[in-house]
Subunit: 207 residues, 2 copies
């Protein structure tokens, strides 16, 4: 059977990534297995190990790809003339849309990989997304310094991610107004209102 040069390494990489997406799109709960991925691309397992160090490496690269697309969507959705509050809301909605329309893909992203800090591309795009949020925050609250902005962006984005995590894994979306979108909406506007007008320090110092 052994074909040769039917596909280049790059093409194999693409085939593999597409196969993974195919699997999780068909069934968000499906286990992504080396054999199923290989079968999806018309090869056998061995070929996978020619292109990726292991399964985790492959899934990490898929995550990186997904985040890059998300970043793309975000860039496209942002209108420079829009007010920063609305912009941040739109950014969050891009994220929620991914989780809602492609739950399998989102679970791939949310799954904490055992091999962290191993993928430079991924780190870079995460930073880029944070920068997007930071830019809007800076326009929203010009008096805050860059460290405050950086912290706020990470706190806010982690929070939105947390809402996604909890609302998909649980236990508490039996009421409509507890869904991810409603919670995110509340979170953003409440948080931003505090960020603009409130004092970041506690009114009374906690012990």
């Amino acid at each position: 059977m052994a074909r040769r040069n039917d596909h280049s390494r790059e093409q194999l990489r693409d085939l593999a990534i597409r196969s993974v997406l195919n699997i999780v799109d068909r069934d968000e709960n499906a286990k992504v297995t080396t054999r199923s991925v290989a079968q999806g691309m018309g090869y056998t397992v061995g070929t996978l190990y020619l292109v990726f160090r292991n399964l985790d490496d492959l899934l990490l690269q898929v995550s990186s790809e997904l985040l890059q697309r998300l970043y793309s969507d975000m860039r496209f959705a942002v209108k420079d003339e829009a007010d920063p509050q609305a912009t941040i809301f739109v950014l969050a909605m891009c994220y929620l849309a991914l989780a809602e329309q492609y739950p399998g893909r989102w679970r791939l992203l949310a799954r904490g990989s055992s091999t962290v800090g191993d993928n430079d591309e991924l780190d870079k795009v995460v930073e880029a997304i944070f920068t997007l949020v930071e830019t809007s925050l800076a326009r929203l609250a010009p008096t805050r310094n860059s460290k405050e902005i950086a912290i706020a962006a990470r706190a806010l984005w982690s929070a939105i991610h947390g809402i996604c995590v909890v609302s998909t894994s649980s236990h508490l979306h039996h009421r409509a107004y507890f869904d991810a979108k409603a919670l995110t909406r509340t979170l953003i506007y409440t948080y931003l209102s505090g960020f603009m007008f409130g004092n970041i320090e506690p009114l009374t110092q906690p012990s």
Copy 2:
């Protein structure tokens, strides 16, 4: 070898749960495997299946147990005379302390189980924790109605959880002021300040 009645079902359950905690306490990255759990309790795998439906069921019961202890800690930490803002901060610190002191246990909690809504005990204690937060929020902002309070509690708690998730899995705790505690602190005080004084609705309606 086969002993009989050395331990009751209840005792076996306890042994199993203790064994799991032992494993993740020794190494937060250790895989919890049926065989390792069984070995830790001085039995073989078969016995596990006498007490639990499967591994997931066991891990779910461990999570339930952990959440009940967390709830206990929270109840103990809350001082009725303290101001609500400080109380909410203390509640969050209980959660963060678990994640920091017992990262393995926390990962057990954070891991989204494939079998959800399958454990009534777990659902109950999650609700109880939310109620704790709601109580403080209600005292903080007496003008808000109960639906707003409920939403805020869930948004805020999901956010804290999200900070935990992101800060343990990543990528962005190379700077000290990005650690979970600092982010949580910022989040809570900013959010609460918005919740007390701000308008929940956007200042300008987003599209």
